[in-house]
């Protein structure tokens, strides 16, 4: 099972390395990890996508919580939540047919073309990870993918409850 975990932690040197170290030390999976300071600069928020059964997930949550810099951890995937990931991708757009196709697919997925070169289009797309996967697959059927980068997912719970300190 894939789980998304949101972690609030002290924005201090070494805090991120403790999280990463913990995952490798205990042989937990990391599918993606993103980190940045929150609106409160003294706190960072990490989103980790991981894979594991319930038992493993329980250990991950407890072990992360045990780290001294960690203020809160919560699993997003066990409730209603919004999940987003950003994709930037360069594709070959060397003739008019491929350019129209790329533009058409990008529109369908509600992405946008953010840079145009002689031979290459650069596209930006946000969405959940599945949408990004589908987009890449569709694109690759039409043209050549030259370079791509994904941000890893971030997420937030729906509704009134907020994860704050």
């Amino acid at each position: 099972m894939r789980h998304i975990l949101a972690i609030l932690l002290e924005n201090e040197p070494g805090a991120l390395s403790r999280i990463v170290g913990l995952f490798s030390q205990r042989a937990f999976n990391i599918e993606s990890l993103t980190v940045a300071p929150t609106d409160d600069n003294s706190i960072s928020r990490i989103t980790i996508a991981t894979i594991g059964n319930d038992r493993v997930l329980e250990q991950i949550v407890k072990q992360v919580n045990k780290l001294v810099d960690v203020i809160k951890i919560s699993e997003l995937t066990d409730r209603k939540h919004v999940e987003r990931e950003l994709l930037l991708v360069k594709v070959a757009a060397s003739n008019s047919k491929s350019r129209t196709e790329v533009k058409r697919i990008t529109d369908i997925f509600r992405g946008s073309i953010v840079d145009i070169g002689k031979q290459i289009y650069t596209i930006e797309l946000t969405g959940n990870s599945e949408k990004l996967n589908a987009f890449i697959e569709t694109l690759s059927n039409e043209t050549e993918i030259i370079e791509s980068v994904r941000s890893g997912c971030v997420g937030i719970a729906r509704g009134e409850k907020a994860m704050r300190v």
Binding site: E10, S17, G21, Q25, E58, K62, Q63, I71
Partner: protein
């Protein structure tokens, strides 16, 4: 108005004094010479100069295990700090509070592969509770206060503080401010058990027909042995201790059925296997206890009390988890039992104890000593027990001798038994014993060791001389890495690959060379008298080298991959 300014080195010393530290265990070097200079110029804190930084960590550790006070280690950057790694790991595995102050190259050089630069915070990340990189001199006092707070609360553990040289030098000064009443928004050690869980636990206990209490090192760390004894006497239940939990209840208490696990008593392991309710208190279902987890106590409802939620349901699923400090939870439990007018089911208890007696009568923890045979190692432990009235502090190294000591020296009190259980660190025994002796100069302090282990920190005989630490070292000399050899006998077809010690030194002469007394014991008929003699010498360290039977194995022993009660009782005899 002018505020007084201090160097970082002075701040470290002032902070340690404010935290009531009496001793620092350490070894100097380039990056921390300023700190040594500050130590030289005061007399509130005594520095103990060891002969190897690993020994500083074990000595601090032994001091802590015996007293409950946080041990402080000081080492220089690079090799000084890396020499501490084994000792930090040892403390971490057994949840021992420790603060390690490690020097570092000046902040301007960090990352440049400077002389004696090692990223000690990085090296120790998986074996510490927390660590700090100091980058601002004014922060030093509060970082040290936090380090002590974190090390000693919740589930205790070692904390590393890295001190770059430029923060310590006389040119840089700042005002001294310390907040010893530490509060941290990200760290609140959970203290009380959840009332609902306490109710569930009490109800389950009151319905049990075959209850067993299984307690571990958490009881010792929490100074909760009195309460544990009261609880056990209220429940009238059998109690077993882990290797780390020995002394949590008196080893001669009538409800005590011995240590459990790999080299535990048959009755302890059988009682666990047949119990319908297991009350686990400050123990963590270590693999040396459980044997094959798939076969672990299938019929038992497990109540697991621990301060560390990660210990609960990690290896064995707990039916009733209770997160909290074990002393507080035991009191809550006693109150709740009182509330529900608990009285034990005498009928069921009678049957249960009758059954346990049958297992006890097998006398699985025993040995045979023929009058003309070589000295059996167990016999040495028994003699040592008699001579010291069971009141000595016993610090152990790792191997067969450790298990014999655990089996044949029933500890009456907590903190008497000092051993590296989680990490199993050879070389722990002597420096740990030294730390204990420093704290309790008038008590018998024994280092029980082997011919292998003692050589892993034997240089500390010199420290013992310098600080007059007259511990009694008893080496069960079997001319081999006995525990390794035992496994080779049992599992590897008797192929003794590198487990035989050739060219052993004459230990008595080694001891004498360091200015101590050596006593050699070769035969059974001289054992008691010579041991008496060793313990009668109070003002000098005595190194007793006892030649023991090298063929002796530690029994009982788990059969690998079996259930907790699948055991070898003696050579060739299984349950």
């Amino acid at each position: 108005m002018t505020t007084e300014l201090f160097t970082g080195a002075e701040m470290v010393v002032k902070a340690l004094s404010a935290l009531k530290v009496k001793y620092i265990f350490g070894y100097p070097g380039g990056s921390i010479l300023d700190l040594y200079d500050a130590i030289f110029q005061q007399d509130e804190i005594e520095h103990i100069l060891v002969r190897h930084e690993q020994a500083a960590t074990h000595m601090a550790d032994g001091y802590t295990r015996a007293t409950g006070k946080v041990g402080v280690v000081l080492a220089t950057s690079g090799p000084g700090a890396t020499n501490c790694v084994t000792g930090i790991a040892t403390a971490y595995m057994d949840s021992i509070p420790m603060v390690v102050l490690a020097g570092q190259v000046p902040t301007t050089l960090i990352g440049n592969d400077a002389f004696q630069e090692t990223d000690i915070v990085g090296c120790t990340r998986p074996i510490i509770k927390h660590s700090f990189n100091c980058r601002d001199l004014a922060e030093i006092p509060n970082i040290i206060a936090k380090a002590f707070y974190i090390a000693s609360t919740g589930r205790p553990g070692p904390v590393v503080v890295e001190l770059p040289k430029d923060l310590l030098i006389p040119q840089n000064k700042a005002p001294f401010n310390i907040e010893t009443n530490v509060k941290m928004r990200s760290y609140n050690p959970n203290i009380k058990g959840h009332p609902k869980q306490i109710c569930k636990a009490a109800k389950t206990i009151s319905e049990a027909k075959k209850l067993v209490v299984y307690s571990g090192g958490g009881i010792i760390l929490a100074d909760a042995s009195q309460l544990l004894t009261t609880l056990v006497e209220t429940l009238k239940a059998p109690i077993t201790n882990t290797l780390m939990g020995l002394g949590g209840i008196s080893g001669t208490h009538k409800n005590f059925i011995g240590m459990l696990g790999m080299h535990g008593s048959l009755e302890a392991n059988k009682t666990m296997a047949n119990a319908d309710v297991i009350l686990a208190l400050g123990a963590r279902f270590d693999d040396r206890v459980t044997n094959n987890v798939e076969k672990f106590c299938p019929n038992a409802t497990i109540i697991h009390v621990d301060i560390d939620p990660t210990s609960i349901s990690k290896t064995i699923n707990a039916h009733i988890p209770v997160v909290g400090l074990v002393d507080i939870v035991m009191q809550q439990l006693l109150d709740e039992l009182n509330e529900i007018n608990y009285s034990p089911d005498e009928e069921a208890l009678k049957d249960w104890w009758q059954q346990i007696k049958v297992w006890r009568d097998i006398r699985s923890v025993s040995y045979e000593q023929g009058a003309n045979e070589k000295i059996k190692p167990q016999r040495v432990i028994e003699a040592m027990y008699k001579i010291t009235n069971g009141e000595a502090y016993v610090a152990s190294d790792v191997g067969q001798h450790q298990m014999f000591a655990a089996q044949f020296y029933p500890f009456a009190k907590p903190r008497q038994w000092i051993n590296s259980g989680g990490a199993g660190t050879m070389g722990f025994g002597l420096p740990a014993a030294m730390g204990v002796k420093l704290a309790f100069p008038d008590k018998h302090v024994i280092c029980i060791t082997g011919d292998g282990s003692i050589q892993m920190n034997i240089q500390e005989l010199s420290t013992c001389k310098q600080y007059n630490l007259p511990v009694v070292i008893i080496t069960l000399n079997n001319r081999s890495l006995g525990m390794v050899r035992q496994w080779q006998d049992m599992v590897y077809g008797g192929r003794h690959s590198s487990s035989y010690m050739e060219s052993l030194p004459d230990f008595c002469k080694v001891a004498e060379a360091y200015g101590h007394i050596g006593i050699q014991i070769d035969t059974l008929d001289e054992l008691d008298a010579k041991l008496e003699q060793a313990f009668s010498i109070k003002d000098k360290l005595v190194f007793v080298d006892v030649l023991v039977d090298e063929k002796e194995h530690v029994y009982p022993m788990h059969i690998r991959q079996g259930g907790i009660d699948d055991m070898w009782i003696k050579k060739g005899v299984k349950t």
